[in-house]
Point group: C2
Chain length 394, copies 2
């Protein structure tokens, strides 16, 4: 065991245009230098109250049980599932990408009978598929679906799925990891019973917390469980007593991450949600216009594109890793590769939160125009930038 | 739903002398402003490698599977248990405080048959108690014990328990949340098979990560499981593939928290482990000498006191909340109250990591000397400070 001296952190400064984390506003970095407080300090409890107040505004919900779970987005997914599933429950899961697949894995670990509603990766699922599954299965407890699939860039409309679930006595659970703060999410109006997200995408905070919200139906299910929640750390019956009026100690909250989220939510609300969604829309449209003008294709069909994440088809003969490696090493730009069946077939480009800017669109399009010819793919010179500029001016 | 404007964070500056979190070195605050990297960026993978290298030095282990789990200390506890327990396994748990009790709750959720080895809160457990339980039960898989009980300030010696466990074919699991970085922990030499900790106590980083280490026996149990790990987020079979050579994506790592841990570990190793333990010893001894000279009693018996956390008995007739409230509001000092049966009976004083300084000892003793007379308890003037000063000069 060597006593090798480890040097000070000095990583390269990246532009993070992959599936997340995204870069964060300097104000959020600064907030993390705020002196620590104890997790039961009245001054910290006030910060918790302000944070959940802002989270409710961003989720567009009045749900009392709206808190940041002390883990990254996947901990939010697990918290959403483990608190309502008991062994033997039937759960219908929409699977049209990597994260829908992950939901099936987690739900099965908690003893659920998992019914898959499947679709091609890169297409939305049809409500009729869910209707058929709900009619065939008796007593479905939960329908789970990913709002913005980070693996495909597909935006799955939720209101009709909520109606269908409720008509069949089931709850709707939505993964809003990549949508919250970048695309409209209306928990109460749409009738979403359970939703979770992450902080490192459109919210503009580092990875480390998972906002979650439980509506009245979900709360009733939670309160009437026959068995203890199988997962101690994510047990909302106990977490609710810490974040709620009782303030009972559960685990030591990640104070600094909550400072960061508090500041990030202030930034989101100062900009205004509708203005923020419009910015994500405008910037994503410009990027898409640019790549299409360069002769590249898009995976997600028009009308179902998640603005925070665009999937670009890699042209025949172009080496995925060669381009992504050059982007990272020569331009300090990170973009994501494809997952599962899309590996080597798409790039995943995130224009999220602080990074959803026209500057980043131009930077990435310029870099691609420089790099693609090395792989034998020659976009018309200047066409991408011109199309992006035109879309921004529209 | 009001659109109340939430102001910038501006909390009071506290001296955190409770059970954790403790204040952290300014260098660690600064490290959190390091630009974000993606969780699969080669530059970040190098930082991960440096971090686990340093964690192994601090745990005094060569265990390959040594990583920070993406949650606070309790997530470490749960990761330690859920990865080795399968339904029906017998687990012997030492219960002599709040956190031993918590282990029984978690182990039962994963289907273990829990055998309690119990003792009075404020006393160590006798190895003979474990021996009796191991002889009575057949096929005990795991013996779990808290090294430094944060609820009582008891330090439980581990080497004999490891020998006993191994003699009976069981593994030893140790909670080192409050000991690691402040008291000697020798995973390999003592034969501890599984240990976990937190970052917010003697390590000197904010709460948010839980270092964990799995030795060869534990690894073999993990690899030969019949069932999937019931907890997805904490599944070490998958986490090991991210932190190990394969680098398979599991969840988005909390980048900023790992930056903080990286810097905190550098600070720990620059000071040197043995020097650090000696500092905690000296400062704790001075504080104890001071409170005893003031006429206050200590809960933990000599020889079994955990230096990072001292439990002070609250004198008859003195109101716990009145003193702690005044410490917080008038002196900006946080100390902890008692948990469970010790509620209202002890104060828990942490002198941990960055906060283990003679300055903090004098500050707290002075404040207590000012405040206790309000409750009718009059320490001999100056006696506490003089005794502390003498202990420091020894």
């Amino acid at each position: 065991m060597s006593e090798r001296i480890v040097g000070e952190l000095n990583p390269p400064e990246r532009i993070l245009l992959g599936p997340g984390p995204a870069n964060i506003p300097p104000r959020v970095h600064k907030a993390m230098t705020t002196p620590l407080l104890g997790h039961l300090d009245p001054a910290f409890l006030a910060i918790m109250d302000e944070t959940v107040h802002m989270l409710r505004l961003v989720f567009k919900t009045a749900n009392k049980l709206t808190i940041p779970v002390s883990g990254t987005g996947s901990a939010g997914m697990e918290a959403a599932l483990c608190n309502v599933i008991e062994p033997g429950d039937t759960v219908v899961v929409g699977v049209k990408g990597y994260f829908g697949e992950r939901i099936t894995d987690m739900a099965a670990r908690y003893g659920a009978k998992v019914v898959r509603v499947e679709g091609e990766w890169g297409k939305p699922l049809a409500p009729a598929q869910f209707k058929a599954a709900l009619e065939k299965e008796k007593n479905v407890k939960l329908v789970a679906v990913v709002h913005a699939e980070t693996s495909t860039g597909i935006l799955q409309p939720l209101p009709e799925l909520a109606r269908l679930a409720h008509d069949h006595g089931a709850m709707l659970l939505a993964d809003t990891v990549t949508s919250l703060g970048g695309v409209d999410v209306r928990i109460d109006e749409w009738g979403v019973d359970i939703a979770y997200s992450g902080t490192q995408k459109c919210i503009g905070s580092p990875p480390g917390l998972a906002p979650i919200t439980f509506g009245p139906r979900a709360l009733e299910v939670l309160r009437n469980r026959k068995s203890k929640v199988a997962n101690w750390y994510l047990d909302l019956t106990m977490l609710d007593r810490y974040w709620g009026a009782e303030r009972t100690y559960h685990h030591t909250a990640p104070i600094t991450m909550i400072y960061a989220l508090h500041e990030a939510l202030r930034v989101v609300l100062e900009e205004g949600l509708e203005q923020r969604f419009a910015r994500h829309q405008k910037v994503a449209s410009a990027f898409r216009a640019g790549v299409e003008a360069m002769g590249l294709g898009l995976l997600a069909p028009e009308g179902f594109r998640a603005n925070p994440l665009t999937t670009v088809k890699i042209p025949q003969g172009v080496d995925d890793m060669a381009i992504r490696g050059a982007l990272l090493n020569e331009y300090n730009i990170e973009v994501g590769g494809g997952l599962g069946p899309l590996k080597g077939k798409v790039w995943r480009v995130g224009l999220m939160g602080y990074n959803a800017t026209s500057k980043n669109v131009f930077t990435l399009l310029s870099a691609l125009e420089q790099l693609l010819p090395r792989q034998g793919f020659k976009p018309p010179p200047g066409a991408g930038l011109a199309a992006a500029q035109k879309a921004l001016s529209a």
